[in-house]
Point group: C2
Chain length 158, copies 2
């Protein structure tokens, strides 16, 4: 069990690409959801798969359990997706003591680029790179589960 604390921002421009490592293609679907919990399945680079259970209502802090599963199971589960299957490429962008994860969305959500950083505690203060736009931590419209449900990017970025 991991305790997940993170901040999330929109991304402004392409300067983040200078520090980015090779991306991983992620396809993910929500299988079960409620206000304070969810079950998700993910496929990485069309070759590995994992399920994740999350509990806890706070946007900045949640209990998370993750397990590797057979790729074939994951593809079967995706036929039971709630809403659309999210398709994005995730890039790691190290910056000082922190690692930003920049998600470039494809398909229904093309045009949306979001950066997240995982923090050791709720008071940690990472340096904020110049390529960050508006902070959206706690904005439920940018949670992947909400993106899957609507099948579109929130209007202000459309």
């Amino acid at each position: 069990m991991a305790r997940e604390i993170e901040r999330k921002f929109l991304v402004d421009g392409d300067d983040w690409k200078d520090g980015a490592e090779k991306g991983v293609r992620l396809k993910q679907a929500y299988l079960l959801g409620a206000a304070d919990r969810s079950a998700r399945v993910r496929v990485f680079d069309d070759s590995r798969a994992r399920i994740t259970l999350k509990f806890g209502g706070s946007a900045m802090s949640r209990d998370e359990f993750e397990y590797d599963i057979p790729l074939e199971d994951a593809l079967d589960m995706m036929t039971h997706a709630l809403g659309s299957v999210i398709d994005k490429t995730r890039y790691r962008v190290p910056d000082g003591n922190f690692v930003w994860e920049v998600d470039v969305y494809h398909g229904d959500h093309a045009g949306l680029v979001v950066a997240e950083v995982e923090l050791p505690n709720e008071t940690a203060t990472p340096r904020l790179p110049d390529w960050l736009g508006r902070e959206v931590t706690g904005d439920r419209r940018y949670i992947n589960q909400a993106l899957a449900e609507t099948g579109a990017i929130p209007e202000e970025n459309g």
Copy 2:
């Protein structure tokens, strides 16, 4: 992924014990649920643990995915149970070409005894042992998820 087809009955008397193998103590909690899907965690004999995801609305046939997980994760997950944690002992009772599973409930559901048989297809006709009572296949009150939600056995058996 397994396709699960089963019939379920109440149990009448103790004659099933003659053919029963050693029981396994099962503690199980529902973590996420909707009409056509659920996520469940189980602990076997306080030593092994497993999560199960089920999809599909038909009472006799569902898609089921099961994975072993660390015991510590399972105990953490049980703090997020929806409703009560179900506590029962499951006995295997072989009968001809079929194996019945008899669940003897404890705690909030003490007094309830249910037998299930898994079938190779929806038209299979297992012999029905004398110790079976009324068939409750498809009766949602006897689904473990419903038992967990109400925290009590259905009234006709109370």
